[in-house]
Amino acid sequence: MIRHLLSAADLDAGTATEVLDTAARMDEAIADREVKKLPTLRGRTVVNLFYEDSTRTRISFEAAAKRLSADVINFSAKGSSVSKGESLKDTALTLQAMGADAVVIRHPASGAPYQLAGWVNGSVLNAGDGTHEHPTQALLDAYTMRSRLGRVDGLSVAIVGDVLHSRVARSNVLLLSALGAKVTLVGPPTLLPLGIEDALASGTEVRYDLDEVLPGVDVVMMLRVQRERMEDAYFPSAREYTRRYGLDGARLRALPEHAIVMHPGPMNRGMEISPEVADSPRSTIVEQVANGVSVRMAVLYLLLGGAK
């Protein structure tokens, strides 16, 4: 097993499948228990090092670690030495001294987990770095596809919206392609980085017209789009964005009957996704949250040598 999870590219198809299989076993093991806890990581310390507010991701990792009986330390940028300007390296040395077995890091700067991995002995899990990657999100998305559609291999997946600023999109392109899915990126050209067709995985397609794409997909994944992007001239207005790239009821009905709708959250209801779609039975948004815990349990278990 790998030591760190910094990028979805760290996972080949075999390793990724092992994570998904382990997550499924975790689900079953927990379901059978009255106390929702496994003793696997007793005595191990997992640090959540969060430089960005992301309650949902932090809680998900915290729940995953606790269900494996690990000790969890939350080290948040708010109200700690981090916000007083302590460097990442000094913080890393502190965590090292505390004997952290794993550090889960969320950071606004792309690549910060790579540097952290050079400064601590424990495993580093990238929980989202800048506009780079969010590998456990991709794993939970793949897990969700597998549980809804039975497989990932051979699926056609459209990822729609602000790919340029999306770490979720990067990790998903890498992971889903490795697992044999065909990924199509859809959005206004301003939000699709130049050359992305070849930058991450060969076979990635780029399309500008959502309506042409929808009838042929098994999965449509909507990315969060910040309204402020229009101030940087990425698109003219929220209204025009929604008209061209928002998923509403009419577009939902253009999807094949079996197709599912995903969103990594938090949603901008009315912007990239209409309330009708978000709350429809084809939406997996709530499941994704639950699956997040299982997948993160699997990753912690495998990284921390539970498999040895």
């Binding site: 460097s87 990442l88 390296k89 950071h107 606004p108 700067a109 792309s110 690549g111 910060a112 790579y114 540097q115 770095d129 800048g130 506009t131 780079h132 990657e133 770490r167 990067r170 980085p193 130049l194 050359g195 992305i196 070849d198 930058a199 991450l200």
Partner: protein
């Protein structure tokens, strides 16, 4: 003053000869009483001249001082460096440029030729007192807001015109700032994968093209700093053919390193303009060989550890260059020693207006020269560098060509590989 007899040097890599250094010049007078230095097979070059050095003093003496930077320069074979103006305070007055010039004289290791800011505080709006700096003891001829682009076309036009009065030249850091907001590295497939904001080649090329047209229009001298893209090379080729008085420099790192270096997220590879692609490197090497690019300049940019040992986004751009430039160019420039002398000494001295530098070490010339062992290889150890900082991108690399002796006005500043002061 000691008289030195350098025995058996290979002048510009060619014929073996002895060089006699007396009273600050190379002479053919009597060798009687001279201290003999065995220089058998060492390549004698005119002392190198750097058009683009950040010495950080005043303001960031924790990263570099005029003295430590001068020592690094001498060890790299330089006898003159042009000190960039982005200090704290900015070198935008006669007072600051004279201070830097005096610090250089006091250190006595290389001639430190201050560059003056184009605009007050590098703000890009109001012209600094260019004439006062030109008329000061520092005799400033190169003006640059380096680190910032003089982006306003009207200000740039005025600056180009104004310095014609004293044969000045505007050295432009070509970067259209509206195209590089938040930019972290070359915009291309690597930046897409790494999720680092892209610095597109067109942001440089748009300014190079604009400035070449402006310089042509007003008949002024333009110098383009650290050219980094194949597109800029094409524009320069066109401008020179069209008779524009434009010169250009390339850094050693842009001749060797690509944007793939960023994959480590190690900010030692963060630099502005950013490392580009293999195609750009090929175009830059060809341009250096055919003279479209006139000079190699280091853009030596020392940074304190805390400004580099951090997240890529937060790190300052820039890398050390003075102590490695000659070896990198020797290894990667595709130039013979005479061409190296042309690109790293004669031409930069001419651009900077330094009459006592850039002259081949033959009788009659000022004794500003460096002697290089072309056979030696050395390993780059950041802790062993003379610079006050450690941010070299070449750590651990074995490089060919080692500076053995450097002489400034006939006195050794580097002797047997060690700085003399």
């Amino acid at each position: 003053m000691t008289t030195y007899l350098l025995k058996g040097v290979s002048l510009l890599g060619r014929d073996r000869t002895d060089l006699l250094l007396a009273d600050g010049r190379i002479t053919d007078a009597s060798t009687a009483g001279a201290e003999v230095i065995d220089a058998d097979g060492l390549v004698a070059l005119p002392g190198l001249v750097d058009l683009h050095t950040h010495l950080r003093e005043p303001g960031r003496e924790d990263a570099e001082t005029v003295e430590s930077g001068s020592r690094a320069a001498a060890l790299g074979g330089y006898t003159a460096v042009c000190a960039m103006a982005n200090t704290e305070p900015v070198a935008d007055t006669a007072g600051v440029v004279e201070q830097v010039w005096r610090l250089g004289r006091a250190a006595g290791l290389v001639d430190v030729q201050p560059v003056g800011a184009v605009t007050v505080g590098l703000g890009g709006e109001q012209l600094a007192e260019l004439g006062a700096m030109a008329g000061s003891a520092a005799r400033v001829r190169i003006f640059s807001d380096d680190g910032h682009c003089v982006a306003d076309p009207r200000v740039m036009r005025r600056a180009l015109e104004y310095v014609k009065a004293f044969d000045g030249v505007i050295a432009q850091h070509a970067e259209e700032p509206r195209l590089t907001v938040g930019a972290q590295m070359h915009e291309g497939s690597v930046s897409v994968r790494l999720g680092l904001a892209g610095w597109p080649a067109v942001a440089e090329e748009a300014i190079v093209a604009r400035d070449a047209l402006l310089a042509g229009h007003v008949g002024a001298r333009l110098h383009v700093c650290h050219v980094s893209t194949a597109g800029s090379v094409e524009i320069l080729r066109w401008a020179k053919r069209s008779g524009v008085r434009v010169t250009a420099e390339v850094t050693p790192h842009h001749l060797l390193l690509t944007d793939a270096s960023a994959e480590s997220y190690d900010p030692v590879f963060k630099v502005n303009p950013p490392l580009r692609t293999a195609e750009d490197i090929a175009a830059l090497r060809a341009a250096l060989a055919d003279g479209t690019i006139d000079a190699v300049a280091t853009d030596h940019a020392p940074h304190a550890v805390e400004d580099k040992e951090c997240e890529w986004d937060y790190a300052r751009p820039g890398m050390l260059g003075l102590e490695t430039a000659l070896s990198i160019v020797y290894q990667n420039g595709g130039l013979d020693w005479d061409q190296i002398a042309e690109r790293m000494s004669r031409t930069p001295a001419r651009i900077a207006g330094l009459a006592d530098h850039g002259r081949d070490p033959v009788p009659g010339a000022p004794a500003n020269l460096t002697l290089v062992d072309p056979q030696a290889r050395w390993r780059v150890d950041p802790t062993a560098l003379a610079s006050g900082s450690r941010n070299t991108p070449y750590a651990g690399m074995a490089l060919p060509g080692r500076v053995v002796h450097t002489f400034l006005r006939g006195e050794p500043t580097v002797f047997e590989g060690k700085a003399t002061r």
